[in-house]
């Protein structure tokens, strides 16, 4: 199945394959074989062995998560799979490519993952702005029902699965899995307390597995070709498979590429994105979306995987790097990022609701030459107040990451802005 299982069918010039085209390209073979030869626990097992790490940002092993769903007599007969397609992390555009490029791959993944956890219904939660993706998915789901691949008896196996597309009303916090569950239930999308984890009590109190679109799109390949094959795709000991890496900002060729997990950042940035556009140099970059710590040009030779990027003080996140060029002012960039998080805070807890707004005001003041020298330390204090464990969900610590790392690497720039008022600028 090639070394690019996620994108092998994607050809923007042709448009996505319909069901017949996808089947002709070998599609739905994984699901068909699975129903013939595998028990649900076998599917969980092979995904565990393949070490498929979640592609939504946190990198939690998918097979391990699926194993948390209790099966057998006395357990809830109703279970849900929820596919997280909220994709609102600024600088991230990989799930859009999968949905628009090969919708049937996602549906085949949904069927395999649902069978593994014995889900009765799968909801695909898609952000509302992805209108083209919505249309393509709707059509693909209808085709899959008509072919008997999902519905009352998937592939004639007797296993029943409903697949339903839900489009969101637009809010970054809906990407957080428990907030997403509240949104799906028709509530304000504040996160829920964990535990209980969704695998125990999620959507309408039933066992629920939430996985990112890219995670789910990896499942058919693993089911069809096995764990060894999947592990062999990766260059990292961190997990198996390929990864949709991307680059945006003022690079020569912004885009998304499917590459072995664990390539160096430089391969993504230089070989694929072509480096910075003429006349620009790389100042720093966010490796995996707005909610990851800045890294510096000296980090370009690191392996782009969870452990290595973690050790360097940041996070792999979504693997879609944002390159900041040398013409940018770091305070302006940080202000843009913090303004995003301040606006998207769900308002549930104080450090996030008020702290982010305060940090945004301070940065705004600095940019208007109204800063004072103490501002820099106050910003640092806010980043500290937003640290993990201080708030109800991971939005706030995510917001703290670019803030704290910007000050760590560029403190003199912040101080220069803060000093402008007293210097009479």
């Amino acid at each position: 199945m090639t070394d690019r299982p996620l994108t092998r069918n994607i050809d923007p010039a042709r448009g996505p394959l319909d069901l017949a085209g996808y089947v002709a390209a070998g599609g739905y073979e994984a699901a068909r074989e699975m129903f013939r030869t595998m028990q649900p626990a076998d599917v969980v097992g092979v995904v565990q062995k393949a070490n498929l790490r979640g592609r939504g940002g946190a990198g939690f092993p998918a097979g391990t998560k699926w194993g948390l769903v209790k099966q057998g007599p006395g357990t809830s007969p109703i279970k849900y799979l929820v596919v997280n397609g909220d994709e609102m992390e600024p600088g991230t555009f990989k799930d859009r490519m999968l949905v628009e490029g090969d919708p049937h791959l996602l549906i085949e993944g949904v069927i395999c993952a649902s069978y593994a956890i014995q889900a009765t219904t799968a909801y695909i939660f898609l952000r509302g702005e992805y209108l083209k993706g919505e249309q393509l998915l709707k059509a693909a789901i209808a085709e899959a029902y008509a072919a008997g691949f999902c519905g009352p008896s998937c592939f004639g196996s007797g296993y029943a699965l409903d697949i339903i597309l839900h489009t969101s009303g637009g809010r970054y916090i809906c990407g957080e899995e428990t907030a997403l569950i509240n949104a799906l239930e028709g509530r304000r999308a504040n996160p829920r307390a964990k535990p209980p984890f969704p695998a125990v009590s999620g959507l309408w109190g039933k066992p629920t597995i939430v996985n990112n679109i890219e995670t789910i799109c990896n499942v058919p390949g693993i089911v069809r070709l096995g764990a060894e094959w999947f592990l062999g795709l990766s260059r990292s000991t961190d997990g198996g498979g390929t990864k949709l890496y991307g680059a945006s900002g003022r690079v020569k060729r912004p885009g998304t590429w499917e590459l072995p997990l664990g390539v160096t950042v430089r391969e993504v940035f230089e070989d694929h994105a072509g480096g910075m556009a003429d006349g620009y140099a790389l100042k720093c970059f966010l490796p995996g979306g707005a909610s990851t710590d800045f890294l510096m040009p000296e980090h370009l030779d690191l392996a782009f995987d969870y452990t290595t990027i973690g050790k360097a003080g940041s996070r792999m996140g979504t693997g879609q790097l944002i390159a900041v060029d040398d013409k940018q002012d770091i305070v302006g960039v940080t202000h843009n990022l913090i303004a995003f998080f301040a606006q998207e805070s769900c308002g549930w807890c104080t450090p996030c609701r008020d702290g982010l707004r305060r940090a945004e005001r301070i940065l705004d003041g600095m940019l208007r030459n109204e800063g004072i020298l103490e501002d820099v330390d106050e910003l640092k204090r806010h980043a500290w107040l937003l640290r993990p464990g201080m708030t109800f969900c991971a939005l706030a610590p995510g917001a703290a990451e670019p803030l704290q790392s910007a000050i760590k690497y560029f403190r003199p720039e912040f101080e220069a802005w803060a000093a402008r008022r007293s210097a009479g600028v």
Binding site: E87, M88, E89, P90, G91, T92, F93, D95, R96, R127, G128, E129, Y130, L131, K132, I164, H166, T167, S168, G169, G170, R171, Y172, A183, L184, E185, G186, R187, R188, A189, W204, G246, A247, S248, G249, R250, P254, G255, T256, L286, A290, Q320, I322, A323, V324, D325, Q328, G332, V333, N336, L337, A339, F340, Q343, E344, C346
Partner: protein
Amino acid sequence: MLSAEERAEIEHDLHHYPEKRAACIEAMKIVQRRRGWVPDDAITSIAEMLDMSPAELDGVATFFNQIYRSPVGENVILFCESISCYLLGCNSLRDALCDKLGVGRGETTADGEFTLIPTQCLGCCDHAPAMMVNDALYHDVSIDALDGILSQHRGNGPRRRQGGTP
């Protein structure tokens, strides 16, 4: 009051969920597609249909960026202000757009044609700067391209085309 059409479309969506209220976002979008926004009377009627209190439904409505609880223009511009677009100069592009329209962020033009809503990352960061006008996505937008984009939509809003009431 909901029209018969609106009601039927919402009814259809109820089948997707074990609880009626789960259809509330979709229900509000159904109304909004026809009327441009979600007025109070629709909140009351939808809430009744979905066994919610109007206050609860309004709480959901106000939570989400894409549900409009006050009137918008014939055409809604969603203008991305997030980081990748910022790095490619979306702030000066937005200022140029504001100048052309004679509005500030979040405002509607005097002739009711356009509402400019700053928005978050549209997932089109490889072709920044990006913006949407109604259902159409525009990427790699330059200041020079703005007039062309606006003229495609001026006098040609989705509700006007449907023959509905603006």
